[in-house]
Symmetry: C2
Subunit: 422 residues, 2 copies
Amino acid sequence: MADKKKRRRAAADSDSDSDTLQFKSKLKPDSNILQILKTLKSSAANTAASEKPRPLSELNLATACREVADLPLSSVQSTIESLALSLAHSILSGNGFSFSVPSRAAANQLYVPELDRIVLKDKSSIRPFANVSSVRKSTITTRIIQLIHQLCLKNIHVTKRDLFYTDVKLFQDQSHSDAILDDVSCILGCTRSSLNVVAAEKGVVVGRLIFSDNGDMIDCTKMGMGGKAIPPNIDRVGDMQSDALFILLVEKDAAYMRLAEDRFYNRFPCIIVTAKGQPDVATRLFLRKMKMELKLPVLALVDSDPYGLKILSVYGCGSKNMSYDSANLTTPDIKWLGVRPSDLDKYNIPEQCRLPMTEQDLKTGRDLLEEDFVKKNPGWVEELNLMVKSKQKAEIQALSSFGFQYLTEVYLPLKLQQQDWL
Amino acid sequence: MADKKKRRRAAADSDSDSDTLQFKSKLKPDSNILQILKTLKSSAANTAASEKPRPLSELNLATACREVADLPLSSVQSTIESLALSLAHSILSGNGFSFSVPSRAAANQLYVPELDRIVLKDKSSIRPFANVSSVRKSTITTRIIQLIHQLCLKNIHVTKRDLFYTDVKLFQDQSHSDAILDDVSCILGCTRSSLNVVAAEKGVVVGRLIFSDNGDMIDCTKMGMGGKAIPPNIDRVGDMQSDALFILLVEKDAAYMRLAEDRFYNRFPCIIVTAKGQPDVATRLFLRKMKMELKLPVLALVDSDPYGLKILSVYGCGSKNMSYDSANLTTPDIKWLGVRPSDLDKYNIPEQCRLPMTEQDLKTGRDLLEEDFVKKNPGWVEELNLMVKSKQKAEIQALSSFGFQYLTEVYLPLKLQQQDWL
């Protein structure tokens, strides 16, 4: 036994070189760090209370903007029925029929600093049926609306792919039915999830969270290492309860696994969530719901490259493609915890674990510097400038060069202790 | 209310065209179908009992073959320590050191019909340290073995990416450390999961299954629509219990969602599992464990294209890349339930929902016809011939052309009733 212990110590020492020790020695007792997190949580809760989501109408913006709402199925159904009635009236009065479709083009998008997200301006176009150039699109629009009406009656969820396959002859290509599905969201003024059309699930969640999924109570501390798959249909998620102090948003699967296996959420009460790369709609909706209902701060752990920050921004401010629904898809006030460009030198990440940025990386980085949601955060601009200047990037996994558990045992605790988020 | 009901009926009728009705009318009461499934289950259990997994040694094959075993961590540790001792002896006796590495080349692979899977023949090569051409590989091999030894001592799991980042200077590229990790599995004679190196998780499971994940009991009937993420580390999965009659293996996420939302497993007691596309190691191990412990028949629902059958074959017979571990990764006796090429005409899948096969598709299809694991199943050969001849493919989602719930309400029940699997 003593022999075994000695061997364990020897192994532990072997990956504790001077760098690891240098940072480990800075760590204070967990109770100090927990105190910091409690302060963070209550300030997040206060901000949430004072910062009532402001409706667009109150902002007095120079340009009129449009947003969609999360509607219950019965409202979607009656909205469709009213629309059908008005179209029928128009036809009967000899005017044929047409849809008024909000434009989702880049020129019709606006970043609103007060809201910290992208919204849609109010430009729309008329899509008449009796016109050679728009007859196909207006037919598809009508068919999609009819299919959505069926989903309302049956109260089931389907994927975009299912929708496409119900009328391949008309839709021809899934990109056509997908695009018009977004149009239909805008026409009806409701979110895509309200239409009961869901995306494939990708995300997982583990840690101090209890919630109901389709009527089943899920305790995410009892989900082993695999975690709970995030449900594709947010409208069947509810009853969120948690004693967590923060939400840790992780970009990559590998880092998530390390945190789940080490049960990081037991040492520092938190909820750990990942979309395994690009954020999908289900994970974005789930993160927002957690933030809103539990009023917890969100700290993000992403790769130190332009895509890491871009992913953070999609969670935070929305993607351009779905800006009409940004109010429901975005999570305000996400903090950039790491891995930040300045961490590379600060934590002595070895040269060989850093990667040179490609031309494309650099271009993406420079483009991000022009984005409003980056500009409004001077700390982010500084970090991004450093990244573009040093031309170096690094993955979260680069921390493994100091030992497999460096992430959970040194890096993250130290970051939390030093309140080192932006 | 009556009005609402009428509206519902009208909507239901609208997607019940003559085709749907034609097949719906063939459906017998669920009790009949359940009886068929019970018979299927008991015959699968009997087969499992009589078909004790035969060790390679008993088969008297003309060529010697090699397999790796699932070893407990302590055995991996002691195997590494013995290996280190023997290398030290070799060095001290003035012979330097070298590894004997089993070859994983295609020429060293063999399909064994008695086992119905691919195994590795016994060719190996010597990898000496004191040789310019192999010094790098033998150094990497030594380092990987040392890192695995650390994992044994700490009893933690890491990803291949983590492993790579512990010594980027030496490994240079992840493909180098990945390849040698497989070599190390073969050298130590154990599975990659025994080495505590896991792949990212991708699969989900829902339905009549209870199991423990890292000490937590998981009830997969209480996982809502999202299901439970399949854990990356199979060695922490255990205590499987189930009252299911079969396992339904689904290729795609969309079909899985339909089945989960409709709680298909409550109408026909089953366990529904998907890897969302290409089978990953964790899902393959999990499926095998379910099949072995619960002795349930496995029915596969895949796209009607060469990749659907290929995916089925990876679950069933293994991939060439990891043939050394085929005994632990493969699930014997998977039945091809659908969507099969013959279903396209049988179920009148509309022409516009079928897609023309590309040249690459046709080549993959013809290549599959040459594979031993296809040849041994005459029914599969016939279906595959039909596919290649008709040059048509179709996704599971094509069934949505008869209504969103056609899959769960008509197609699958009818398939089960008619025992229409191969």
